[in-house]
């Protein structure tokens, strides 16, 4: 490019910025950030006792994630080649991340028995988080909007309950109920302190359930709320200049949210592996 061309571009960009500053913004619209997380039933179904069977946004997103995982798994399984193409190499990378990076790196025993669960929970949370970053027409009046099923406490509590139940199932099936629960008491400690430590351990087992579910939930809600606030700020300020700057910032936040989605799936899976591995190796 000649040197004169650069000046022309600079002038054009400056003129565009000044123009944006002078043109007033469009009509003021409001975006209710909290409303993005409301769950209106899409398909009304009768409820059985206290259980409402209506299909809402979160259910649709869970179905979507399941469908995506099933389709990817079938495509990959049908087209396995000795020399992987791009898609297969990417999926093999993810698989080896789940197996070597998560299950094998923190579990000393029982990798083969528990990798299916840990891998499944990793991919399920990952796909759910990533689908939440694609605008889909499930908003109010079928507008495009962001939502993830993992930004719903019920979904994350269910996932955390799986880990909670499997942790104790793994420990009890390996050592028996008496030895497994007895292993929470250090045998060398004096009598009263021993029971005290037992109670603390029991409470901490319960709080693992809380922290595992709330971490994923709060990360996803916070990420989507930040995205929604950045989009809404362009509507509040009503200036095309600020809107341009905010869109740039939104892109950065969006990239950060992709990172958070992957990291949260990784952390959920690796903490599940740590808990299950800890239950398997609790007695020595």
């Amino acid at each position: 490019m000649k040197k004169g061309m650069k000046w022309v571009w600079l002038v054009v960009v400056l003129a565009a910025l000044v123009g944006l500053f002078l043109i007033p913004g469009g009509a003021k619209e409001t975006l209710n950030v909290a409303g993005e997380f409301d769950l209106q039933p899409i398909l009304k179904l009768p409820s059985i006792g206290p259980v409402d069977l209506s299909v809402n946004k979160a259910v649709v997103y869970l179905w979507l994630a399941t469908a995506v995982i099933i389709v990817i798994a079938i495509i990959i399984a049908r087209n396995l080649k000795p020399e992987p193409g791009r898609f297969q190499a990417a999926m093999e990378g993810m698989y080896s991340l789940a197996r070597d990076g998560i299950a094998r790196s923190v579990m000393r025993s029982g990798v083969n028995a528990w990798f299916p669960y840990i891998g499944a929970v990793f991919f399920f949370v990952l796909i759910n988080n990533l689908i939440g970053l694609i605008p889909l027409p499930f908003g109010e009046h079928h507008q495009f909007s962001f939502y993830t099923a993992t930004a719903n406490l019920y979904v994350t509590v269910t996932l955390a309950l799986f880990t909670f139940v499997f942790t104790h199932y793994a420990g009890i099936s390996k050592y028996g109920l008496r030895r497994y629960v007895g292993g929470w008491m250090p045998s060398g400690a004096p009598p009263v302190l021993r029971e005290f430590i037992f109670v603390i351990h029991a409470v901490s087992e319960f709080f693992r359930l809380v922290s595992l579910s709330v971490r994923l939930f709060a990360n996803m809600v916070a990420g989507h709320a930040i995205l929604a606030v950045f989009f809404a700020m362009a509507l509040i300020f009503q200036s095309y200049l600020i809107a341009v700057a905010l869109q740039g910032a939104s892109v950065l936040i969006y990239l950060f949210e992709i990172f958070v989605a992957v990291i949260q799936a990784f952390i959920f899976a690796i903490l599940s592996a740590v808990y299950i591995g800890g239950a398997l190796d609790s007695q020595h």
Binding site: I102, S211, L271
Partner: protein
């Protein structure tokens, strides 16, 4: 001030003050992890895995503050 204003003020304070501790903790944690990776690059994978576990546990504290703030704003009206 009406009671709802106090709830919103409390939500802001909860989130802001609740982010201080985990922020310091994450800084120390990641700093130390990078230090040990620089010292022993051959165990970088192990350190990174454990660093992520630590990040998950540390950051949960800030997220409890976030949940408390959400409850104050939307539930405790």
């Amino acid at each position: 001030m009406n009671p709802h204003a106090y709830a919103e003020l409390g939500a802001g304070l909860a989130m802001g003050l609740g982010a201080v501790g985990p922020g310091i903790g994450l800084g120390i944690l990641i700093g130390k992890a990078l230090e040990s990776i620089a010292r022993q690059p051959e165990v970088a994978g192990d350190i990174r895995t454990n660093m992520f576990i630590g990040i998950g546990v540390t950051e949960a504290v800030a997220l409890y503050a976030f949940v408390v703030a959400l409850i104050l704003v939307f539930v405790a009206k």
